[in-house]
């Protein structure tokens, strides 16, 4: 946490202090979680199924009230009154993993308008916002279709629109790529990138190490309701012991990069490559310097 404050100097938009949460059936889902989420950051939460990711998310928007500990939003403790919760939820939106658990209406327009009307926006204004979001997320082509005839990817886009229409400051994606084909998962990635570019704080949970390495500014590893470790993707993915313990695979690019370094083909860099493109660049750079040396 010290690192973070040093490196960014950004304010924390959400802050969890020693959060514990136990379900009614006695399952302890969160066992003392401390976490600062900085404004505008790209945060990936990783961890096995049942490690507490979804519970953590529902704590962040006040659906779950922690048994002990505090949630701070913009510096102030969350007010669990009706009004306080509405305030929190308009600013912290969650895109759920399975759209079928989120889309309650058969009509795309009805579905997307639900959130914004709950904010007390007038119908004409809401209509404008809904149309705008439908346009932005390329939903126009299927907006007249009932939700039960939409494909998985289309449903996902509608479920993202559900949240975007409310103009939140923080958007949480619970495994956004789950059950999507590569095309739609790329589409969702693109939407997420656009959101980050706009300065919206994006938190997502994923099992995809390659995606996390490429996208995230910071990774938080959850294990059995506790934060096992957090840091930049480079810090996390080069920590062999940690990867072993959490059953995470090292990202393919890092593996290739390291074996190239070990074989003496590449020399170790200050910044590790995050994608195939970056690896290519390093390779090209090395070639160039080799050629220069020859002359």
């Amino acid at each position: 946490m010290n690192d973070q404050e040093k490196s960014s100097g950004q304010e924390a938009v959400l802050c969890l202090e020693n959060i514990c949460y136990t379900y009614e059936d006695g399952t302890e889902a969160l066992k003392g979680v401390d976490l600062n989420i900085l404004r505008g950051e790209r945060l990936a939460i990783m961890g096995a199924n049942g490690s507490g990711k979804s519970t953590l998310f529902l704590t962040l928007n006040g659906i779950h009230k922690p048994a002990s500990g505090r949630v701070l939003f913009c510096g102030g403790p969350v007010d669990y009154s009706r009004k306080g919760l509405l305030d929190l939820r308009r600013k912290v939106g969650i895109v759920f993993q399975d759209p079928d658990n989120q889309l309650f209406s058969a009509s795309v327009t009805q579905e997307i308008s639900f959130g914004i009307l709950n904010l007390g926006v007038a119908e004409a204004e809401a209509q404008k916002r809904v149309d705008q979001v439908i346009e932005e997320l390329n939903i126009t082509a299927f907006r007249e279709k009932p939700t039960h005839f939409l494909s998985g990817g289309q449903k996902k886009r509608v479920s993202i629109a559900d949240i975007l229409v409310m103009d939140p400051e923080v958007i949480i994606f619970d495994e956004p790529a789950a059950a999507l084909d590569p095309k739609h998962s790329a589409m969702v990635d693109e939407i997420i990138d656009e959101l980050s570019a706009k300065g919206i704080t994006v938190i997502l949970s994923t099992h995809d190490v390659n995606r996390a390495l490429l996208w995230a500014e910071r990774i938080v590893l959850l294990d059995d309701g506790r934060i096992l470790s957090q840091g930049t993707p480079e810090e996390i993915f080069t920590n062999e012991a940690l990867l072993m313990r959490t059953n995470l695979e090292k990202p393919a690019i890092l593996k290739i990069y390291e074996s190239l370094c070990d074989a003496g083909i590449l020399s170790r860099q200050l910044t590790l490559p995050r994608s195939a493109d970056e690896l290519q660049k390093i390779k090209r750079g090395e070639k160039l310097s080799q050629i220069k040396r020859q002359y």
Binding site: L58, N61, I63, R82, L86, R89, R90, G93, I94, F96, D98, D100, N101, Q102, L103, F104, S105, A106, S107, T109, Q110, E111, S113, F114, G115, L117, N118, L119, E123, A126, Q127, V130, K145, P146, T147, H148, F149, D162, I163, M166
Partner: protein, 254 residues
């Protein structure tokens, strides 16, 4: 039922004002049942069938297929009206059975045929509405007609979740079949029982997940949504009014 739902979304009449369509269908239905006239029922049947097939672009075969669903049911009950058990022979024809006759009178035959025609015409009115109007539009219409909000909200959620539950049931059933869950009658019965039990548990779970998701979007106990309501075109409304007036006049004259 699901084929009807699908057809409604592809009907060419889908984007007409639902109130006009409902007035047209329900008005015709009331006149049809009220008049109980052979001619009027036939007129309504032709017009409803024609509009559904030609204007709505629903295939004729499919439409007849749908009409046949109530027809077989209807035919059976009509038989009971046409044939009487009578001690005296009746005027059309009689089959003696012991001391009584299984008999048909001109009256009972007329009654039976009239019943079939009136029933088919009524069904055609309802088919016109359901094959041209989506459930979403019907719910919007109910809301505008000041139906209790709770009822409309429930219908809206049920309509949406019928499809989700159906998908779930079919997935479970497929996985049961993959493991020979239908190898004989008793096994199949047990499989269906388990399917229903799992479905109940999962739907309870789903409902709680849905509630969380709705709460996350600031749900406060009332579902407020934007409805797409297309205003009625004067031409359609006038046409429907004229048509209903003519039907009423015909019903009075005949």
């Amino acid at each position: 039922m699901f084929i009807i739902d699908k057809l409604a979304y592809s009907s060419k009449l889908r984007y007409k004002n639902p109130a006009v369509k409902a007035a047209f269908a329900v008005g015709s239905l009331l006149i049809c049942v009220g008049a109980r006239s052979f001619v009027i029922s036939l007129i309504i049947l032709m017009i409803m069938g024609g509009l559904t097939v030609l204007s709505g672009r629903i295939s004729v075969l499919r439409y007849f297929g749908l009409l046949m669903i109530p027809f077989s049911f209807l035919a059976l009950s009509t038989l009971a009206i046409v044939f009487n058990l009578s001690e005296q022979p009746l005027n059309l024809f009689n089959i003696p059975i012991g001391t009584v006759y299984l008999a048909v009178s001109q009256n009972s035959l007329r009654e039976g045929v009239l019943l079939v025609v009136v029933a088919l015409a009524s069904v055609s009115c309802l088919y016109f509405l359901t094959l041209s109007t989506t459930m979403i539009d019907l719910l919007t219409l109910l809301q505008r007609l000041r139906c209790p909000k709770l009822m409309v909200e429930l219908m809206m959620l049920i309509y949406r979740y019928i499809f989700v539950l159906l998908d779930m049931a079919s997935a479970i059933s497929t996985s049961q079949k993959c493991r020979l869950g239908n190898k004989d009658f008793m096994t199949e019965l047990r499989s269906v029982g388990q399917l229903l039990a799992v479905l109940l548990i999962r739907s309870l779970k789903k409902s709680s997940l849905l509630y969380d998701a709705m709460e996350s979007r600031c749900y406060d106990g009332e579902i407020r949504v934007l409805n797409e309501y297309r205003p009625a075109e004067m031409r359609d409304a006038a046409g429907v009014a004229g048509y209903l007036a003519i039907l009423i006049v015909l019903a009075v004259i005949l």
